[in-house]
Amino acid sequence: METLILVIIGLLVAPLVGGLIAGLDRRVTAWFQSRQGPPIMQAFYDVAKLFGKEKMVVNQWQILCAWVYLIAAATSVALFFAQGDLLLVFFVQAIGAVFLVMGAMAAKSPYSQVGAQRELLQILAYEPVLILVFVGFYMVTGSFSIDAIWAQDIPLLAKMPLLYLALGYALTIKLRKSPFDFSTSHHGHQELVKGVLTEYSGPYLALIEIAHWYETILVLGVCALFWHTNVAWMAVLLLATYMLEILVDNTMARMTWRWMLKRVWVLGMGLSVVNLIWLYAR
């Protein structure tokens, strides 16, 4: 019963919080640029407007892919809130990511094709890091389930600080922020005119946006697990992490995919492996 309530909370609250975070993100970004920025509710207005637009698709695949992406993202958040198994959460979220790529590949437009290829490379970069983080959880708690983490009495950050840094890479990629925003950019005026999202429009674009909110919450949720012992510190950790993300987003230019693969594989995986060896040796 309790699990069911948690799942419902996850399904309903996650997109609301995700949308608010997106709005705050734009406000803070505007503040960095000494502008005023849109209202905090802007993300909701955008999505509501998109739902009110004409349904235009290039082919039927796009509809399916947008829905599967949304459902996979929502399911992974639900599983996460249900204190489920981290590996299961990971695989469900990977299905969503793959369907997003498939949806983009289904259209012939070169922008969406290039975007899809780059999205694949992004997936290739962050998924190993994410899995190594979960392996770290396993080495500390002896289980992949989130329940086992709550049973710990000291914050995991003390035991896996390097893994947290590596997770930061995954977070930046997942949030599609600079320097890793090359499959879709926030600003639709760059070389790729939104890449994977080019061929989506109206209600289907809105579905993808909501799925993105779910994913934001999922990755932030994984970050939150690093300080599960104290809610206040958890909030501080998340706030600091997210602020750092926005700062990086605003101070970095977009890099090439080669740069990303090198950086994330060498540094991200290197940090993770060092931390794992340290965990193993103790």
């Binding site: 005023q36 407007k49 005119v193 939104k194 429009s201």
Partner: protein
């Protein structure tokens, strides 16, 4: 309730797309000036998108000629309903000083229906923002009528 939220949101999140039909670049830099921190149209939720499939409002600058009228029509057709078109500057409205040239078709309204005309050579950023706001009122009206 959701329906009325959608209706309200339309005016709060107009995504604009800017198409240059061969203007002298005077009007274009004014359109882009609206996006700078000085005017900061993002305050009103306006985003400049590069993709007609995401756009609600089409801003057209410059005279339409025989070569680019097809492109303009194509872009217009790719935008999902409801949409609005705003012609900017003397050239966009009527063809301006190039009106008599042999290659020029004339204003934007020769090719696609225009909702708002923003005069000026070049049009001021304030006038362009006003034009977008008026365009939104027009397009709300169009949606009402369609229902």
């Amino acid at each position: 309730m959701f329906g009325s939220f959608i209706k309200k949101s339309r005016a709060k999140s107009p995504w604009i797309m800017h198409f240059d039909c061969g203007s002298c670049n005077g009007c274009d830099i004014e359109v882009l000036a609206c996006l700078t921190p000085l005017y900061d149209v993002e305050r009103f939720g306006i985003i400049n998108v590069g993709n007609p499939k995401h756009a609600d409002v089409l801003l057209v600058t410059g005279t339409v000629n025989h070569r680019n009228k097809k492109v303009l029509k194509n872009i217009y057709d790719q935008m999902p309903e409801p949409k609005a078109v705003i012609a900017i500057g003397a050239c966009g409205n009527t063809g301006g000083v190039f009106r008599e040239a042999y290659n020029v078709v004339g204003g934007v309204d020769k090719v696609i229906p225009v909702d708002v005309y923003v005069p000026g050579c070049p049009a001021k950023p304030e006038a362009i923002i006003d034009g977008v706001v008026m365009g939104l009122a027009k397009f709300a009206q169009k949606v009402e009528e369609a229902e």
